[in-house]
């Protein structure tokens, strides 16, 4: 047991040292950070390719990254906070208490999960009377929360903890020539432009070209779907996907699983009720990174379980890779002949 523990630690230390040695980011704390991936509800059901790609990319970057155990629903504040803030705090605090017990930093790829964990932790650490109320509820389930836990968005993890230099250095198959539109989601914009800028920076590191449109900022319409399904589909997803179709971009890149859920719903409704078929595949940022890091689409199931097939996109990526490889060989030959 002790041997296994020391092996784990050394592995994690190695990962941390790897980051420090590359000069990307020096980690001051002696204890390596253990990340617990909070999957949320949509990711394992509708986006198995994104889940696998996220795990693959995180391991590739040398992080001590594994699934968070004993998770419950994040309890999205968009619905539950309006209904009863105390319920919302008490239920979401169970995830925080579990993470605290496991000694991990929670990592969320879904904006809904992230904002729920982030805001509840903020309220609980800033307002002791709320923490007391929550602990009374948690106590009945044999749990306790001190508030000594960290919550991170996956973009923060990539941009700040791993660092851009390491990401850029890991790109072996630049996706030059691929044009994408991107949608980061509302909650990631809550505090300032840090996360949207990180998103763009990471996307550019893979070599893709980002196409700006007026609808980049527009919400996916997930919550609006409960209130006005027509408007949520026509005025939100419809406008975004129509723009992507008109511009002929190769992919629509997203990060948030909640947004993906709405994109998928919108695309299916357009296809089944209106006979309009969108052809722009919706790709998760982790998939782009995995491709850029040299993984094959089959390694993370990119061809399966998608409402819009990514075959054309994959073909283009392979064609670009082949072209780049040929150019590299010719360059090498030219260098040798000189």
């Amino acid at each position: 047991m002790a041997a296994a523990k020391s092996k784990d630690n050394s592995k994690a230390d190695g990962a941390e040292n790897g980051i420090a040695e590359s000069g990307v980011k020096s980690v001051s704390s002696a204890k390596p950070t253990k990340y617990g991936y909070f999957l949320g509800c949509v990711m394992p059901v509708k986006m198995p390719w994104a889940e696998k790609a996220t795990m693959t990319v995180s391991k590739h970057l040398g992080l001590d990254f594994d699934y968070m155990k004993e998770t419950l629903c994040c309890v999205r504040p968009g619905v539950w906070k309006a209904m009863n803030p105390d319920w919302w705090l008490s239920v979401t605090a169970q995830n925080l208490a579990n993470a605290e017990k496991q000694g991990i930093t929670i990592v969320d790829t879904c904006n809904g999960c992230w904002i729920s964990h982030y805001e509840s932790l903020k309220e609980l650490t800033e307002e002791p009377e709320k923490l007391k109320m929550v602990n009374e509820h948690l106590g009945k389930a044999g749990m306790h929360l001190k508030g000594d836990v960290k919550v991170k968005h996956y973009l923060e993890l990539l941009h700040d903890d791993v660092g851009m230099e390491k990401i850029v250095a890991s790109v072996v198959r630049p996706l030059t020539g691929i044009k994408v539109m991107r949608h980061i989601g509302c909650h990631a914009r809550k505090h300032d432009e840090t996360l949207p800028n990180d998103f763009d920076e990471i996307l550019r590191a893979t070599g893709v070209e980002i196409i700006d449109t007026p609808y980049d900022k527009t919400c996916c319409g997930l919550l609006l779907y409960f209130a006005d399904s027509n408007q949520a589909i026509l005025e939100r997803i419809g406008k975004k996907m129509m723009t992507a179709q008109a511009l002929g971009v190769d992919a629509y890149v997203i990060i948030c699983s909640g947004c993906y859920d709405q994109f998928e719903r919108g695309v299916k409704i357009y296809r089944e009720e209106k006979g309009i078929i969108f052809e722009t595949p919706i790709i998760h940022i982790a998939e782009l990174l995995a491709l850029a890091f040299g993984y094959e689409p089959e390694d993370f199931g990119m061809t399966k379980c998608r409402p819009i097939a990514a075959d054309k996109f994959i073909e283009k990526v392979r064609a670009i890779a082949a072209k780049n490889a040929k150019a590299a060989v010719e360059k090498k030959k030219g260098g040798e002949s000189l």
């Binding site: 923060e156 006005d228 005025e235």
Partner: protein, 186 residues
Amino acid sequence: MTTEHKYTSPVFLVPAPKIQKQLAEPIKVPGTDEKVSDLVIVHDPSKCTGCNQCMIGCAYKHYRTFDRRFALLYVNESPNKNGFYVNANCQHCVFPMCLASCPKEAIYKDEKGIVRISPMLCVGCGTCNQACPIGIPRLDEERKIYVKCDFCDGDYPMCFQMCSTGALKLMPRKEAFGLVKKLRSV
């Protein structure tokens, strides 16, 4: 007192602005006998994504439904600019036009400076809606009276709590004037 929380990244190191959760005593308007609420909600369209969570939260708070048509503030896409969302929410004015125009004197300013419509006195004539520069009071079709924002009775406004991007800001009036000037100049 500010409690330092446990987040590490630059996003979290910025301390969240401390906002009082209950409206304080209304502030006096210099040179008049008027008083006005000390806080006001300002909308920053450059941050708004049109998610409508504010409207849904408002509808739930006041009518226990997620149907956004019951909301007391309004967010819509600008007819002049694609993907740009504009909002109309009550400012609880210093000199409310709705109050001045009501023929039944059903509109009044309470002790916190919140401009309210008395459901017992309102006859649903709609003059307040016509008089308000941004048409805030709306018809409650079931009760046949006009209704408007009540600032969640001086509690933390639900629209502000629900805003998913931070486009709705709750701030003292003086600061709000400064922000609105800045937003207009942009």
